[in-house]
């Protein structure tokens, strides 16, 4: 009985996979058409937009220059700023939905995790020692600070040469630096052992969006009285968050993927859900943290 109910509950999470795949295709087509246009090849009915034009992080790194001299960082367009604003608003509302639902590079790593899971089964995503992992998770804030500072003083998109996301969609264009290829190869390799290694340890935009987990309006909450402590939520979390440790997930690494919720992993209905968080419900109970 419970099993069939659970099977039914698992269905909605597929909606996220569909949304992710759709955004991946959209970005891949748009970036490819744009790169072809750059080479003078015009594809009928498709308008290419460069990856920089649809990257919200380009907007984020441009904020300083925009506020100080009123111009955008080289290669960044107004559309990036629009996406950055929407991205930050969505994070305020629902946390880093961009990471869990939209970012094609997150999706790419998620797909690679399928191979890792086949290779290592339950051991997958548990290889990095906990203490080391906890420290490494803060590395992305160092990357964020470095990218923001360097972009601010040079006025150039400094991260492009190290960005595996840019390398993935432009690997064939000849516009990718060696460091970009190395970063991409490293992420592909690591994804076979760790789920979303770039998101966890190096993504500067994920770092920024992650901060919103501390005060997002809608968050993942666990209803302790109905919880049967089966740890299904912990096992399902791609970011290794200890959902069971508290009543609300406020870990800076949550990507709002819903994998832990009662609509997916949790076998008990209405036990792990996304609702308005303590600030609104006046609930001050203990919060979940990384395992």
């Amino acid at each position: 009985m419970k099993k069939s109910g659970n099977a039914l509950q698992r269905k909605p999470v597929r909606i996220r996979y569909i949304v992710q795949a759709a955004f991946f295709v959209l970005v891949a087509v748009t970036a490819t058409v744009s790169a072809l246009n750059e080479k003078g090849i015009i594809i009928p009915f498709f308008k290419g937009v460069s990856l920089h034009g649809i990257c919200p992080f380009g907007g984020v790194v441009s904020f300083y220059q925009l506020f100080t001299i009123g111009t955008l960082t080289k290669k960044v367009h107004e559309s990036s700023v629009v996406l950055a604003v929407i991205g930050l608003l969505s994070a305020l509302l629902m946390g880093p939905v961009i990471c869990g639902w939209i970012c094609p590079f997150g999706t790419f790593q998620q797909w690679l995790s399928g191979i890792g899971k086949r290779l290592f089964g339950r051991k997958y995503n548990t290889f990095v020692p906990r203490k080391l992992d906890r420290v490494l998770r803060f590395l992305r804030y160092g990357v964020l600070a470095w990218v923001l500072y360097m972009t601010a003083i040079t006025g150039k998109l400094i991260f492009q040469d190290y960005d595996p996301y840019y390398a993935l969609f432009n690997f064939w264009t000849g516009d990718v630096a060696v460091t970009g290829y190395i970063a991409l190869a490293l992420v592909i390799l690591l994804s076979l052992f760790v789920e979303r290694p770039f998101c966890k340890y190096a993504c500067p935009f994920g770092a920024l969006l992650g901060i919103f987990n501390l005060f997002r309006i809608f968050g993942i909450r666990r209803n302790a009285p109905t919880c049967i402590s089966c740890k299904a939520c912990n096992r399902a979390c791609p970011m290794n968050i200890d959902v069971m440790a508290g009543k609300a997930v406020k870990d800076h690494q949550c990507i709002t993927c819903f994998e832990c919720t009662s609509e997916a992993a949790c076998p008990v209905p209405a036990t792990v859900e996304m609702t308005a968080l303590p600030a609104i419900t006046k609930d001050h109970e203990r919060e979940g943290g990384a395992k």
Partner: protein, 301 residues
């Protein structure tokens, strides 16, 4: 209030699609650079389009429209066959040819051509050279100071008559080497005798071809006599060039006070290029550059 996977999916799509639609309606959804160069803000040319702002993504048609130059003339100057191609394809076309090290025919060459043709200001990169065909047009119709045009022409390289668009001949060598590929600029720039020349490589020996120095500022208002000529083939860290920003200067160890002393008490924000600051404040970039370079060299020691 609860958000399920379904409602979150709907919220994500509505938020992003709605946000983009709203931005489009308000005119903020711009996915490519505007094809109009920024206007010069101050000085004699205030309100005129700035050649320095020509981007690689502009087509020849865009440049023609912005600067009022006949598109056929632009195409002839750079050997282009399709006016709707982007200027940055010029670099691609030139890549396959054996241009001498340290010289480039790219977007900056187009900026230089436009500046010399219209008489508007632009400070070219040290490595920028013009194709021979462009130099010919400038010698005939250019509105900039004659000496500047001649100096640029003396460094021009010869495009192959039959090779594809804008490709200089495989044998092209810089004017400096003294081969017959240079533009016919018989008269040496008057600047040559009074110019502080710090030639490191590709320029010609001053005695043999004084005109072969690179004008740092091609502007109708700035006489060549005040032009500093410096040709660096390499741009190692710590070399002040047109694109150098204030942030980079600071990173290289130059203090804010020293920068201000050179710029008359002012300083631009970190991401701003020094050249843009000079243009905005009607300062001679060539002079500033020399002084700042001295500070950088001092800081390096």
């Amino acid at each position: 209030m609860k958000l399920t996977i379904r409602t979150t999916a709907a919220a994500v799509i509505v938020l992003f699609a709605g946000g983009i639609l709203l931005a489009s309606a308000l005119g903020f959804w711009v996915t490519e650079s505007t094809k109009e160069p920024a206007k010069i803000k101050t000085g004699e040319f205030a309100g005129m389009p700035n050649p320095s702002d020509i981007r690689g993504s502009y087509t020849w048609n865009d440049i023609s429209k912005s600067f009022g130059i006949d598109v056929g003339l632009l195409m002839q100057a750079f050997g282009v066959k399709d006016a709707s191609t982007k200027v940055n394809t010029l670099e691609e076309a030139v890549k396959s040819l054996s241009l001498p090290p340290g010289v480039e025919i790219g977007t900056d060459a187009v900026r230089l051509f436009v500046a010399l043709y219209t008489g508007l200001p632009h400070t070219p990169e040290e490595s920028t050279v013009l194709p021979y065909t462009a130099a010919e047009i400038l010698l005939r119709e250019g509105k900039a100071d004659k000496a500047l045009i001649e100096a640029a022409a003396a460094r021009a390289v010869k495009p192959a008559g039959t090779t594809p668009a804008a490709e200089p001949a495989a044998s092209a060598v810089p004017a400096a080497t003294g081969t017959a590929n240079t533009a016919p600029a018989p008269a040496p720039a008057p600047a040559a005798s009074t110019t502080k020349t710090k030639t490191e490589t590709v320029t010609a020996p001053a005695a043999a071809a004084p005109a072969a120095t690179t004008p740092q500022t091609a502007t109708a208002t700035q006489p060549a006599a005040t032009t500093t000529t410096e040709t660096h083939v390499e741009k190692p860290t710590g070399t002040v060039v047109g694109k150098t920003t204030f942030g980079e200067l600071k990173q290289w160890g130059v203090s804010v006070e020293d920068i201000k002393a050179v710029l008359g008490g002012k300083i631009g924000p970190d991401p701003m290029a020094i050249k843009d600051f000079a243009t905005q404040n009607e300062l001679s970039f060539s002079e500033i550059k020399t002084k700042l370079q001295e500070l950088v060299d001092k800081a390096k020691k």
